[in-house]
Symmetry: C2
Subunit: 337 residues, 2 copies
């Protein structure tokens, strides 16, 4: 009996289930179990991850003084407590201004796996991305000078930059945003789905496996693939039929291309789509079937896919809330106007 049991376990560990194999063939990839392999996947050779940069980047990520008003940090819209996002349809920033294109804040969790950042995919990586919202007027509304003067006005920050990059570090805007990006690169959330793809065939239950099967069979993996389950650009089809639901109207990109958002932690990141038009996950699944795949998914199919999607909720990294350096006489004053 013992030998049989062991044999059963080792089979499930060593031989991926046919469904896991099929998922991989459909383009789905796990977050690697192996730490070195994961590090290679999330690292940027031009801006390598070090523990000192991560710790400093975390402080900057949570520091509202980087914004013009001193009230908005990266974490305001990409809140690590709520799935890495803000839970409102369109981002609201400086002076309570909504995003002019009514764009929804994408989650920062697992954003490292995207090959393009922003809904219109205009930036290639998190280093470049981090420069945008800090300066955008409806977001943090800061100038580069404001950010650099704020950071360099506090000796503790200067000391931590020197510790992270060497005594000759030039603390410019790019160095600051690179450091924020380094922190963001570590925000990956392995889930039971990853365990399943990595060979543990019991990591998903029967209903979740059925949902994954449906997810693949219906063609969802055409766009939602890779480690991020959504990483490249895709045309967002908007037919007149659906315009009344305000699903489309994407104006960020002239060709109507929209980045395919990740499905990881999807139950935590409502409302859905680039414009946050739909709050219910199953409804979003049905709508995507109609718009993107030209399919009328049955209630049962949509429910099944939704059950699978819930298995993508991952374990978040432990983040100790930072203690930020105290401002000094030379720290720029907040300006709420």
């Amino acid at each position: 009996m013992k030998i049989l049991a062991l044999a059963a376990i080792s089979t499930s560990l060593l031989i991926a289930s046919p469904l896991a194999q099929k998922a991989k063939e459909a383009g789905l990839k796990p977050i690697p179990n192996d730490k070195k392999e994961l590090h290679k996947l999330i690292d940027n050779p031009k801006n390598p991850i070090t523990s000192m940069k991560v710790e400093l980047g975390k402080k900057l990520y949570f520091d509202p003084r980087l914004s013009k008003s001193n009230l908005i940090s990266c974490n305001t819209c990409h809140n690590l407590a709520t799935g890495g996002t803000d839970g409102v349809s369109a981002a609201i920033g400086h002076k309570w201004t909504a995003n002019p294109h009514h764009l929804n804040s994408p989650t920062v969790y697992n954003a490292v796996f995207f090959s393009a950042q922003f809904w219109d995919g205009r930036d290639p990586d998190l280093e470049k991305q981090a420069q945008g919202p800090i300066q955008a007027h409806p977001e943090m509304a800061a100038t580069k000078d404001h950010v650099v003067n704020t950071v360099t006005s506090m000796p503790q920050y200067v000391g931590e930059f020197k510790a992270a990059y060497g005594d000759n570090v030039e603390i410019d805007f790019e160095k600051i945003t690179d450091t924020i990006a380094t922190f963001e690169r570590t925000l990956v959330t392995p889930s039971r789905f990853d365990k399943f793809l990595n060979g543990d065939s019991n990591a998903l239950n029967k209903d979740e496996k059925k949902g994954l099967q449906t997810f693949i069979d219906k063609g969802c993996t055409t766009c939602h693939n890779g480690v991020g389950l959504g990483q490249d650009m895709n045309a967002f089809e908007v037919t007149a039929k659906y315009k009344h639901r305000n699903i489309g109207d994407f104006r960020g990109d002239a060709n109507g291309m929209v980045k395919v958002p990740t499905l990881r932690n999807i139950v935590e990141t409502a409302p859905y789509f680039h414009n946050g038009a739909i709050w219910d996950l199953k409804e979003a699944v049905i709508e995507m079937g109609r718009i993107q795949l030209g399919l009328d998914l049955s209630e049962a199919e949509a429910e099944s896919i939704t059950i699978f999607l819930k298995s993508l909720t991952g374990t978040k990294p432990n983040v100790m809330y930072p203690q930020l350096p105290a401002r000094t006489a030379s720290t720029p004053k907040p300006n709420a106007n």
Copy 2:
């Protein structure tokens, strides 16, 4: 030699220095070293501290979905990363509205030591205080129903309330704000000053001791006393002479009484005074000398007091940033208007 060294240490530990004695006679009190004694000081017998309530209260404290917009949490204005405050002159809340009386957000750290809450001292404790900003229109702008419906819409929250209070708990607005207050009661920050008052005569250096001496001699302890170094109400004198500096104009209380703010972590809580009118600590010390004590402090005296005040920066409790429950179909939608 060894015996002599030990004797010297035990003397410093057992016999408080004459200055510490004098400080106590002037009304200054330390945060107790003894955990039981501290617990007694911060606990509320009507709302006793338990670890489950603290953990749940922390989540609620950081949850922006308690606000009408879903964008503002208790931590937005009382940010635990920046001295327990927001670092702007007047609090800015819902729809980017500044506090109509131009009142500065007081720090939440050590607020448990106050005998009155709010600048006009209208509430007796943190339990009552926590009900205010959540409902205030220029702050979180929520109705009691919004708060209760939000919390009870998430099964994880309901489960945690049951675990904390028993299965028959009624999750009403008061229970929610009581739980937030329980978390806030734990936010105390012992400093080197406390070590000094508790008998370690080497915990302050020579300059800090001199500053403490000046602080007492000049009469600062008349208002800044107790464990909080500022806890009761006091008339805020506004003479015509200083009106141009906009130090006064307190309209929250008909008698012009203003709560004496704590001096703990004062280097982290600029700008100063109920209206956040002054950013520089030494300048604030000089102004208080003029307005409240009728003294013209010399530069050297103000500098000395400031050096002492810096020793009041305390060790903050470690706060793991929470993972909040995911919203459900019945969670009230955000309303930014």
